[in-house]
């Protein structure tokens, strides 16, 4: 086994561990912190089903962002939906045999990569060109977009320009999952692609990528509007009742 393969194997094991533990820890923190007061942004659904629908529209269509900023919505939505398809497409590297729906989306997944990069480019342009957005941007905000763009571009290169041995890549990842590591092709583009993905996984739990779990815990979006009907009391607030 080559040194490179070992390094990448270790990289992906640790990145996965950091991602799972880091995000898990954050979700635990989010879940544990109580929301002591009812603060849904109204008009809000009055039933749990309504809340699920609201959250669905928020997560799938970016409803609030659509109301707020049409260009950002367009670029952001195209990027996320592209990313989603691309991720689904990549599932084939982790299963054998490949699930039928995953087979089906393969052709779309390839082009979704372009959509993803285009959306990111739009977001990057907006961040630089709109004075207000530039004002609120830290270096990390630009770097995050660059990182994602590089991941997308390197991926697209392998699909359309410099093909890599995807059978070997698949073997490598299946091997990682079964603890029987096999050789990773030493293609530069592939190595860059994978290193950047691992980097993304590593920084996920310490960056703004936490918006992904965050939205599900947002009290203004996930609370039922029923304060008059149901008393809502946080654990820590109960001590006042005893006085």
């Amino acid at each position: 086994m080559s040194f490179l393969t070992v390094v990448y194997a270790l990289l992906f094991y640790s990145a996965t561990a950091v991602l799972v533990i880091g995000v898990g820890r954050k979700i635990y923190i989010f879940a544990k912190a109580p929301a002591p007061l009812k603060i849904p942004t109204t008009p809000a659904p009055t039933t749990q089903t309504g809340v699920i629908m609201r959250m669905f529209r928020e997560v799938v269509f970016f409803e609030s962002l659509f109301k707020g900023a049409k260009w950002t919505w367009l670029f952001g939505w195209v990027f996320h939906m592209g990313l989603f398809l691309v991720l689904l497409r990549h599932v084939r590297y982790f299963q054998d045999p490949v699930w039928f729906p995953i087979e089906l989306i393969q052709p779309f997944g390839a082009y979704a990569g372009f959509a993803m990069v285009a959306g990111l480019a739009g977001l990057f342009g907006r961040r630089m060109l709109v004075d207000r957005v530039r004002y609120i941007s830290a270096p990390s905000d630009y770097l995050m977009l660059i990182l994602l763009m590089l991941i997308g571009l390197s991926g697209l290169m392998m699909t359309f320009v410099a093909h890599t041995d995807i059978v070997a890549v698949k073997k490598f990842f299946l091997g990682l999952m079964t603890l029987s590591i096999s050789e990773l092709p030493a293609d530069p583009v592939l190595l860059v692609h994978l290193a950047l993905v691992a980097l993304l996984m590593l920084i996920f739990p310490i960056s703004k990528l936490l918006h992904a779990p965050g939205i599900f815990f947002s009290p203004t979006r996930n609370q039922v509007d029923n304060p008059r009907e149901r008393r809502h009391l946080a654990e820590w607030a109960k001590r006042f009742e005893q006085q």
Partner: protein, 509 residues
Amino acid sequence: MAKADFEVPELQEYTEVPKYVEGTMAHSSPYVAKPDHQTPLGFPGALVPDWEEKTLEAMGDLLGKYRSFQVYLDSCVKCGACTDKCHYYLGTSDPKNMPVARQDLLRKVYRRYFTFAGKFFPKLVGAVDLTREVLDEWYSYFHQCSQCRRCSVFCPYGIDTAEISMAAREILDRIGYGQKYCNEIIAKVHKIGNNLGLPGPAIQNILDGLEEDVLDDTGVAVKFPLDVKGVDILLVTPSADFFAEPHIDGLIGYAKVFHECGVSWTVSTKASEAGNFGMFIGSYENMRRVSMRIREAAIELGVKRIVFGECGHAWRVAYAFLNTLAGPFDFLDPNYPVPQHILEFTWDAIQQGKLNLDKSANDDKVLTFHDSCNVARATRMGDKPGGQFEIPRNVIKAVCNNYVDMEADTIKERTFCCGGGGGLLTDDLMELRVKGAIPRINALNNVVQEHGVTHMAAICAICKSQFTKVIPYYGFEMDQIVSVHQLVSNAILLTGQGEQDDDDGEDDE
């Protein structure tokens, strides 16, 4: 026009999003609370010597107590969707009045001390050390947020800058750096029972005077009871309703509605304030203490229902928090929501045909309606989402012939704050209040020009006070602001009214 020692912005046809200009409002900072204002609330009298430590301690404590605070500090992606949504940014061009930038004032300290990235790569993620400058900036800009929640409507994660402002103010209070206006008022409520510090006899006087006025006007003995036991309804209303214009005309409206519906009611000295500034300073405990007065009054007076008068943030605390803070209200009549809004009450009465209304009494006016931010984005009326928009409009349309809405982007859930909410209704923030009102005034001006609107109705004591003070800067008259129940009051024909001679209406005063 009122005089100002700052430049009053020009009215625009549509509120344009300005290019940012740094520091335009850096000087804006309300008076700091004195020990007398701080200690009754349970806060240190002055800035504590070890404030750095105490600030971080308070922040850590709130992170564990408020999911909103924790999740919102972690989740912002700096998408910028909120940047042009705040009336204070639109009115001042100060970039720190963009909601996300306001949050960032606190977030950059959170990152520095509570996150891995901020501890090890502060420059990269924009994290900074907690210094006195940072603290003063918090004090300044977290008192340039009226907690109106407009930003939260448009944020893809529902990040509510109001939550961050409340937390920031709570932290500032805990280290002895509170705001005079809010804390002085809360201390008054704790001591006397209302924001204005009106003692019982003064309220009695006012109510007696109102009884006489209404009797003179209508020939009907409409009661304005105080501390009467065993009645149906406890009316909790903002204390401004007892003396300010146009608030007091609203109070007369409530009394007439109750009278016509044949329900008995009372105001309480103990709960003579619907407002609850505890919310503005983000203090659960103070908000609870103020709320408990209402529970106690309801029990002592033995009422069956609680109805709230016209006030925005008060309705938020009442509708969304009262059950939590001072419930359960199982001792009240379960056939009615607890609490009820006076507009819900009046709208029910109108639908049941209990009120005899003469719309033409308001024919001298063309109305529009200002949705108060807290009512619009933090509460509901009736049992359907959006009832908070429909019910006030239904009532207005039931008592007026001429009604026009302002532009869609400035009403309902997108309504603009009056510019004086969230504990900023103080003279030491006059510049902020005048400039922050501009998006609303632009929209008002449009309907005035295009549709001949003469009056804007409001359902919030703060909105009414703010507008009557601020619209003269823009060339409007104070009395163009009216209470919704003032319109109701004008239109109601009381049973028995006009049965004596009709022309005795002119000789009062």
